[in-house]
């Protein structure tokens, strides 16, 4: 070929592919280091000093968590407030809270939670998203779940539901009994409360803020 062009030269494209892949991979690895630092779990000292972490330490279960609009960021963020009793205590040590969270995270995998539910929006779509389940008004004093399960606190109602889900149906589609023990249920509720404190950049939007809109109010 007399007028051989670089644009139809296989070597040129092979080298381009190698360079593009290499540069993209290096950028990804660099960003991974930055992100990993930002999503490492905080600790009890951060919580006591009011240092905001994207993923707070497990002792966040000692505090009240709310989900509020942040005007500067333009979306809702979890806000960690004053102390709040969790299964009757608000003085879990780092080790105790960490052990509960460990049990709950293991439980969330051992029971295949994310093959019906979504966690942080990932998983299956057969059951509600659990990202901010801890903040769901249904489990609060105004909601129906405490009365239904005969418990006086959110965490006890959740733990009771998790142990005997098919006794408390909320829809024709029910959660099956997964053999969750009382201790595992406590761990799972810890996991849910901790997850609700994660800064998810405003997902889900307007969580629990709109009630009855569907009915045209």
């Amino acid at each position: 070929m007399a007028n051989r062009s670089v644009w139809s030269d296989n070597r040129f494209w092979q080298r381009s592919a190698a360079w593009v892949t290499g540069v993209a991979s290096i950028l990804l690895i660099w960003l991974t280091f930055d992100t990993s630092a930002q999503i490492s779990m905080g600790n009890d000292e951060d919580l006591q000093k009011g240092v905001t972490k994207r993923i707070p330490g497990p002792t966040v279960i000692n505090y009240k968590i709310t989900y509020e609009m942040d005007a500067k960021r333009g979306h809702e963020v979890p806000v960690i407030g004053e102390k709040e009793k969790f299964f009757g205590r608000d003085d879990y040590s780092e080790e105790e809270a960490g052990a509960l969270l460990h049990l709950g995270k293991l439980g969330s995998q051992a029971k295949n939670c994310m093959d019906c539910h979504t966690l942080l929006g990932n998983g299956a779509y057969y059951a509600p998203d659990l990202t901010k389940a801890w903040l769901d008004p249904a489990w609060g004093p105004e909601g129906s779940m405490q009365a239904m399960t005969g418990k006086n606190t959110k965490e006890e109602a959740m733990a009771e539901f998790l142990q005997h889900p098919s006794q408390y149906p909320t829809h024709a589609r029910m959660m099956p009994n997964l053999g969750i023990t009382a201790e595992e249920a406590k761990g799972l509720v810890t996991f849910l409360k901790h997850m609700s404190s994660i800064d998810t950049n405003g997902f889900p939007r307007n969580f629990g803020k709109i009630q009855g809109a569907i009915h045209g109010k």
Partner: protein, 473 residues
């Protein structure tokens, strides 16, 4: 599919992989039907095979049959590309049986044990409970060993024989494919860190390494089926690799919008994932352009244009359309964070998932199976049969029907549960009870059944077309 027409042991091994893949494909569809029935009749198999178990089997069977067919396709094309028999074929055969046996054990445990106590033994022996890669840790290590053996065979054969562009791409791609699995093999209490690395496996497989693999298969198919020029095809392939990895690697960011990761992923994820459809357009153009070009060249020479394997080529062309529409267009729908804030974790994802896995992967792997049927039966020119036409028609209509139904369900769900009611438990069930949602789920089930009918025709065709008198031998 044993036959005396195959002189290459590598190709014989490929037929084992394809046979096992076809069986698991059937299992995928059956458990998909169970899950689809449960959306319509929630009491169906309740506390026997719950939705979670049906879905684990549905999506794990999907991944497993595709990986088997991908390994099989490599063993099939290796002797053609390198000009030599595959190195380490005995180990390859042994690894096949280990892999297949491990899969059977994993499936039986999913079905019979289902869940375990919240401790490490469950993670090691029952389920890891992480979508798509639920396989327990012991099986993870088994998969790593099998994948390393496969990659070793590919590398040794590629180095010893003729190392074509297609083989070079496959070597680089398969080592990344195998290596990425390691990112999914650890436990952490931090759900954000968990999902960050989980996406390295899922995304960098299906939106990077698997797509490059499909590019290599399409290149091989064009050369073998319509006699396209290797130089042209391999040039396209390198361009596709550059575009796929250039967009797909940082496109990973579109999974990092809402899992606790920093805001900068909004911009990075949106930009690069929005570019991801471009190589799929290129691949589409590539297949159709080369087809048209070969037609023209042969016509110019006064020859009749011949496709050496019509059913396989039909599936390859379906791949060009399906990959672009399913992965490209359906993915783009909800890849921007402004939209994804509402659609994330809804039936939109499911709609995209169905069309993308089918369009990008199932199509071309079925096409490779047809190439194996042709080779096994010593056919020179393979024609369509009524069954092959019914198979591609029913399967495609079924999957497209499911995709449209799920998209409508997704619209209903997002408008009611997310936009109007704010994503709570009650909002979720209001969305699920809406008429748009529930009728769409009825249609999804019907279209799932249509897909299954197509699958039955496909298997019938695989088993009978070899003896059909209409093919030229």
């Amino acid at each position: 599919m044993a036959s005396n027409h195959l002189t290459s042991e590598s190709k014989q091994l490929a037929t084992w992989y394809f046979t096992f893949a076809a069986i698991i494909f059937g299992a995928q569809l059956l458990f998909g039907l169970v899950a689809a029935i449960q959306y319509v009749m929630p009491g169906f198999l309740f506390e026997i095979i719950d939705f979670s178990i049906a879905r684990i089997l549905h999506i794990n069977a999907l991944v497993v049959w595709m990986v088997f067919a991908m390994f099989g396709a490599v063993y099939w094309l290796l002797p053609d590309e390198t000009g030599i028999e595959t190195v380490g074929i005995k180990i390859g055969k042994l690894l096949f049986w280990i892999f297949a046996a491990a899969i059977v054990v994993v499936v039986l445990v999913y079905l019979l044990v289902q869940v375990g106590p919240a401790d490490a033994t469950t993670i090691w022996f029952i389920t890891e409970g992480r979508e798509y890669i639920e396989a327990p840790r012991w099986a993870d290590w088994g998969i790593v060993v099998v994948a390393l053996g496969f990659v070793a065979n590919l590398f040794l054969t590629g180095i010893k024989g003729k190392q074509t562009g297609i083989i070079t791409v496959l070597m680089a791609d398969m080592i990344a494919f195998a290596g990425l699995y390691l990112a999914g093999m650890f436990f952490t209490d931090n759900i954000a860190v968990d999902q960050f690395w989980w996406w390295w496996v899922i995304h960098l497989w299906v939106e990077a390494t698997w797509e490059v693999y499909v590019g290599a298969l399409a290149a091989y198919g064009l050369i073998t089926m319509i006699g396209a020029s290797r130089k042209t095809v391999e040039m396209w392939l390198w361009i596709e690799v550059a575009m796929l990895f250039g967009s797909g690697i940082l496109g990973l960011g579109h999974h990092y919008f809402w899992i606790g990761t920093p805001e900068y992923w909004w911009e990075i994820g949106a930009l690069f994932s929005a570019l991801e459809p471009l190589p799929l357009v290129a691949m589409f153009v590539h297949v159709l352009y080369d087809w048209g070009k070969e037609c023209g060249v042969e016509k110019g020479r006064g020859e009749v244009h011949q496709i050496r394997n019509k059913p396989a080529f039909a599936w390859f062309v379906m791949n060009a359309f399906g990959n672009f529409l399913g992965a490209g267009v359906w993915g783009f729908f909800h890849t921007l964070p402004q939209i994804n804030l509402y659609t994330h974790g809804s039936q939109w994802t499911s709609s995209h998932g169905h069309l993308a896995f089918f369009g990008a992967y199932a199509t071309i792997l079925i096409g490779m199976m047809y190439l194996a049927v042709q080779g096994t039966n010593g056919i020179k020119l393979m024609k369509n049969t009524l069954s092959s036409i019914l198979a591609i028609t029913f399967i495609t209509a079924g999957v497209v029907g499911m995709t449209v139904a799920l998209l409508i369900a997704g619209f209903g769900q997002v408008l009611i549960s997310r936009a109007q009611m704010g994503a709570t438990w009650a909002a979720y069930f209001d969305g699920q009870s809406g008429m748009w949602f529930s009728q769409a789920m009825d249609w999804r089930l019907i279209m799932g059944a249509v897909t299954f009918i197509g699958f039955v025709f496909l298997i019938k065709d695989f088993l009978t077309t070899g003896k059909d008198a209409r093919h030229e031998r």
